[in-house]
């Protein structure tokens, strides 16, 4: 029982980060029908920003806003340089464009920084724990869960109560109709990338605090988590993405703690396999955006 509760808290902490990443992926899929395999690059770029800032003597207090700003800007730049040029293209082009972005960012850091791991000091409290009854809870997990919930509440408010949120939801439901109704595609898409960058920025603060390092390929892992969680939730469904994120975090923690060591590292493959099976046996249930074609 205690172990299960412990797993639950760990899972929530991990799931929070995945939920933020997945929501960013889902927002972009909503407005562009793009499954963004470059989403993790926001973490790569902000990881190097954090590394340089801390090496230059910045405190984490200053680094946090820097990481978030860098993530938002990177997201906007990527949209401007790459994705704005393939709007409305077929899935083939969209998917490979996002892979191309991933590849280029990776290569640039490989070329201009180095292939080796850059480490930086983590904030001291990351490993602290406190007792809650018979549980040991990490301060880090508590902070992550609290801030994620606040962020999700804020995002919900923006989506439900602002004109931008309404445009974004309308565009996610039916992009063409939304355009006809006067939603400006340019600003909605840019807004979506900014929002996605913001969410990824917050996620990457958490990610970097725990990892304490970055490499050119650092984006792959968070990208996979975000994409997988968004797929679990049904691509394009914002609520689904959040649920998918938490579900993925929870499943990972449970699998790792319950399965024997030798197969515990299979998790990513297992998740992929489960999603593939879902696609195969419930093709309608997973991608909520693929409406039936009108003939």
């Amino acid at each position: 029982m205690v172990e299960l509760l412990q797993n639950l808290i760990d899972g929530l902490g991990r799931g929070s980060i995945y939920a933020l990443l997945a929501l960013g992926v889902a927002v972009i899929f909503g407005v562009m029908h793009l499954l963004n395999f470059a989403h993790g690059e926001l973490i790569t770029v902000s990881g190097y920003a954090a590394f340089w800032a801390i090496e230059a003597g910045w405190s984490w207090t200053l680094t946090v806003p820097l990481v978030i700003v860098v993530s938002v800007l990177t997201s906007l730049v990527i949209e401007r340089v790459a994705f704005s040029r393939v709007r409305g293209a077929d899935q083939f082009t969209l998917l490979l464009t996002s892979f191309g972005v991933h590849f280029v960012v990776f290569a640039i850091f490989l070329l201009y920084v180095s292939a080796s791991v850059k480490t930086f000091a983590r904030p001291g409290w990351v490993t602290d724990t406190y007792a809650l009854g018979s549980l040991r809870v990490e301060v880090y997990d508590t902070v992550v869960i609290a801030i994620t919930l606040a962020t999700l509440a804020g995002t919900t408010f923006v989506l439900q109560r602002t004109t931008f949120g309404l445009s974004l939801r309308a565009a996610a439901a039916d992009f063409d109709t939304a355009r006809l109704m006067g939603v400006r595609s340019d600003s909605v898409i840019r807004g979506a990338f900014a929002l996605s960058g913001l969410l990824a920025g917050i996620a990457s603060v958490f990610w970097l605090m725990r990892a304490g390092s970055t490499v050119p390929s650092a984006g792959i892992d968070p990208m996979l988590k975000g994409v997988l969680a968004a797929l679990i939730g049904g691509l394009g469904s914002l609520r689904g993405a959040v649920v998918g994120g938490f579900a993925l975090g929870m499943a990972e923690v449970l699998l790792r703690s319950r399965l024997p060591d030798s197969i515990a590292s299979l998790t990513e493959g297992v998740v992929f396999l489960l999603i593939a099976l879902l696609f195969i046996f419930r093709p309608q249930g997973l991608v909520s955006v693929d409406h039936a074609e009108r003939v």
């Binding site: 280029v104 999603i275 696609f279």
Partner: protein
């Protein structure tokens, strides 16, 4: 007409030999005259086999696959486990399951068995893809292939008893390794010829039709899932062969050898050259191999590589190590942004040769000569089967789109279905052609019950439709569009005399544009092509969904004549939906009027127009009278 020996067999073989010669020649020139590395050429030969395998699937079906290198891994391990001697295996995988520890087969037997293994896996994966509703550009299909890549990789890493694990892997020398290039040349030639001949084969053409428009292909009797499976199996066989050779040549296999890097490299090669073209796939391999090597050398030696003697210092910021990776990334992104269809798009050598030969021959012949075909004559219907729709009901959620709708059409009749917007006309056509399932009622053609049949089956039984929003196979030429349905007809409707394609082109007024691509046609011509494509199926009944929508009055009147003649050419009954009353009254023997999902009137044009219920429901509410 098919297979046209020259167009579909001889020229592809000739083109394949030329491409093979050019590719190998370039490699030999590089290594001989320019003092290049032999290994680079060897690897390019193997890459070419892999990329051609990928092209067969991705190019013809339009489905982006990340999984082919996963198939490659399976073939590679299967090959290695069978070909390595038990003595070698005892060092790394002494406990190999399935009794593999004691197996020792010759390299080529192992290769063959490895292909069998990987084809069985491909069959299972292909069934999954089909079940997921894979079609051109489907995200779900791409995710499934990605899953295959990851699962294969993780199984390979975590099953050391089988694969030697993540670090050690399997390494070996099989009878002195691959010491001659002859097998590579043979494999490459086989891959090129498979890709070219497949693209021109019946299966390849139908797969491409489904790539261009899945729904229209189904309505022409094509089952896209079968064609995708054929493409998948052939492509996996070629990839498996390439992967086996890659393992053989390297003398080792590790999980990471067949993972993300190789996937990306092969994909970049394919898209840079042009994924829809076999020549393009080869060009892509050459360009990317050369570019990577150049980037590697520039990264290593700076600008001096050109012997200009320029000190590399000012350009140090770009010419440094790992430039090769940047090159790949930029190539991928750049092509997706500026030229997503690649250098050659769908240009292929054999088709170019064919067009050249045609032009050369027509120039030699007298242009006034009777090269224009004869107009086909009308034919009598071959049977008296009646199309009967009985009590069809469909509801979408709570909305009753059709309620107890019936319709009867004879083989010599033209029957119109009219009704205001939302009356259920298109839904009725969708039910009859199997695109929408009905809740109640039946659709019968003579003795045959068509209710619930998939749409391609219905098309093969003789109900062929057109679409309200044009659905042509855009990248195919006018003639190729018609050939798709003629191909299906030749195997599924042999009892009917198929119309002569040239004659059909002439009747439909498409003769002069027969070699233009369908997506370049103007609106009226596109409509005529859609009609001609349906007629080429030699249907028993033609079902036309708003054939005059978007046309002027004058064009509509021409369409009346057009529809009658085209139906006459194959002796088909006609069901036509339209808003245009002039057109409908001009063409129809009988009219059924629908309103809010129900039949409110049946009769001759005059009777229906005079019916007060119809006037109230439809004519009264529209300005068209």
């Amino acid at each position: 007409m098919f297979p046209d020996l020259r167009r579909d067999v001889l020229l592809p073989v000739a083109a394949g030999l030329i491409l093979f010669g050019l590719f190998v020649g370039a490699g030999l020139l590089y290594q001989g005259q320019l003092g290049g590395q032999e290994r680079l050429v060897t690897l390019a030969l193997i890459d070419a086999v892999l990329v051609l395998g990928l092209q067969i699937y991705v190019g013809n079906t339009g489905i982006l696959s990340f999984g082919h290198i996963g198939f490659g891994a399976i073939a590679g391990y299967a090959f290695a486990l069978m070909a390595i001697s038990p003595v070698e295996k005892a060092k790394r995988v002494a406990d190999a399951p399935f009794g593999l520890a004691d197996v020792h087969l010759g390299p080529w037997t192992s290769m063959g068995l490895a292909l069998v293994v990987v084809l069985i896996v491909a069959l299972v994966v292909g069934l999954g893809l089909a079940r997921s509703g894979a079609e051109s550009g489907a995200v779900s299909a791409t995710v499934i292939t990605l899953a295959l890549l990851f699962v294969t990789h993780e199984v390979a890493r975590n099953w050391p008893d089988l694969t030697g694990g993540d670090r050690a892997g399997l390494s070996f020398r099989i009878g002195g390794g691959l010491d001659s290039r002859a097998p590579l040349y043979l494999a490459l030639l086989a891959a090129i010829l498979s890709a070219l001949l497949y693209a021109r084969s019946r299966g390849g053409r139908l797969a491409v039709a489904a790539r261009e428009d899945d729904l229209a292909a189904r309505a022409m009797g094509v089952n896209p899932l079968v064609q995708q499976m054929v493409a998948l199996l052939l492509s996996v066989a070629v990839v498996g062969m390439g992967a086996g050779l890659r393992v053989y040549e390297r003398g080792s296999i590790l999980p990471r050898d067949f993972f993300f890097n190789l996937t990306l490299v092969t994909l970049v090669m394919l898209i840079v050259g042009g994924r829809r073209s076999v020549s393009g796939a080869l060009l892509g391999v050459a360009v990317i191999t050369a570019g990577r090597e150049l980037a590697r050398r520039l990264g290593q030696d700076g600008f001096e590589f050109f012997g200009i003697g320029l000190d590399g210092a000012p350009l140090d910021w770009i010419f440094r190590e790992n430039l090769k990776t940047v090159f790949l990334g930029v190539a991928m992104l750049g092509f997706m942004i500026w030229r997503p269809s690649g250098l050659l798009d769908d240009w292929d050598l054999d088709r170019w040769l064919h067009a050249r030969l045609d032009r050369w021959r027509s120039r030699r012949e007298d242009p006034q000569d009777g090269t224009r075909p004869e107009l086909p004559s009308e034919v009598e219907p071959d049977d008296t089967d009646v199309l009967v729709v009985k009590g069809v009901g469909v509801s979408f959620g709570g909305f009753q789109a059709l309620d107890e709708v019936g319709l009867e059409v004879g083989r010599t009749e033209v029957v119109g279905v009219i009704g205001p917007n939302g009356a259920g006309k298109t839904t009725l056509l969708n039910v009859v052609t199997g695109l929408v399932g009905s809740d109640t009622g039946r659709v019968e053609l003579g003795e045959v019950d068509l209710t619930g049949m998939p749409s391609h089956q219905i098309a093969r039984r003789g109900l062929v439709r057109t679409f309200q929003n044009l659905r042509l196979f855009g990248a195919l030429t006018v003639r190729e569009n018609i050939e798709v349905s003629a191909l299906v007809a030749s195997s599924t409707r042999q009892h009917r005399l198929p119309p002569d394609i040239d004659g059909l082109l002439l009747v439909a007024g498409l003769w002069d544009v027969r070699d233009r691509r369908a997506r370049e046609l103007d609106y009226g011509t596109s409509r005529r092509l859609e009609l001609a494509r349906a007629v080429a199926m030699a249907p028993s009944f033609l079902l036309l969904d708003e054939p005059t929508s978007g046309m002027s009055d004058a064009e509509s009147l021409v369409m009346v004549d057009q529809v009658r003649r085209m139906a006459g050419v194959v002796g088909a009954g006609v069901v036509v939906i339209d808003h245009d009353l002039n057109f409908i009254t001009g063409i129809c023997d009988r009219i059924t009027c629908l309103d809010r999902g129900q039949v409110i009137a049946v009769g001759s044009a005059a009777e229906v127009q005079a019916d007060p219920v119809v006037q109230a429901a439809y004519l009264g509410s529209s300005a068209e009278t």
